[in-house]
Subunit: 142 residues, 2 copies
């Protein structure tokens, strides 16, 4: 049984974050000492590591909640439920990637066009481009 700081060291989450996740139903300590200290079993640690992995991939805490409930009772859930969540996340990531790639291209183009030197900006092509409005249109985050 680990104390919260030990679980924190193991997972790389802070003790604060672990308590925060607990409040959101993602992590729990299967035991409390008489004085109220949290103690984590091996199963608790595995669960925390699952949460950390899912978080690393980019799943939201809400997604992770659903994934955990599937993990807890695999019999009652289908692979399709899992791929639905995963596909939705991938769609989201792809959408954001498109936005960022558009920004990247525009920024690179702007940087190429500007001398970047120490002289004054009266001739600056970046300022001009922004003024003219002839910048690549990037989609806003949804």
């Amino acid at each position: 049984m680990l104390k919260i700081s030990e679980l924190a060291a193991l997972t790389g989450l802070s003790a604060h974050t672990i308590r925060f996740y607990e409040k959101h139903g993602l992590i729990e300590a299967s035991k409390r000492s008489d004085s109220g200290y949290r103690y984590y079993s091996d199963a608790d640690v595995k669960r925390a590591e699952f949460v950390k992995s899912a978080r690393n991939i980019g799943f939201s805490l809400d997604d992770i909640g659903v994934l955990l409930s599937i993990r807890l009772d695999k019999q009652s859930h289908s692979c399709q439920e899992v791929t639905d969540i995963t596909q939705n996340k991938l769609d989201e990531v792809n959408e954001r990637l498109s936005e960022l790639q558009a920004m990247q291209q525009t920024l690179e183009r702007l940087l190429e066009s500007c001398c970047g030197g120490p002289e004054n900006a009266t001739h600056c092509s970046i300022i001009e481009a922004l003024d003219g409005g002839d910048v690549t249109v990037t989609r806003r985050a949804s």
Copy 2:
């Protein structure tokens, strides 16, 4: 001179957002009617369009504030100041792109590994992968 709703229609910003930008020093109405209505001159419109362009590229409101002050007095600023802001933004975008690309790869790999079918999830390779912790490590957002 345009009223706020007309500027909104022109720029695609909402009237709320225009007032919000004004509060943050980005947009201003060079005139007010006796009753307090905002009226925007051609120069105001250009400035609002500059803000909109910069926002589309992904600059933060703070960045835009700095860009506007350069735009307002180009003599006192250098191209380098402009490229610094732009380069910093590009670095940020590139960092986020790396994170998202790692997520994308992991998610695609997970989706390939799972059957996605209607049977129960006792054998689900996505759940297994998250359990095992053997997912690609993606950097967290800074």
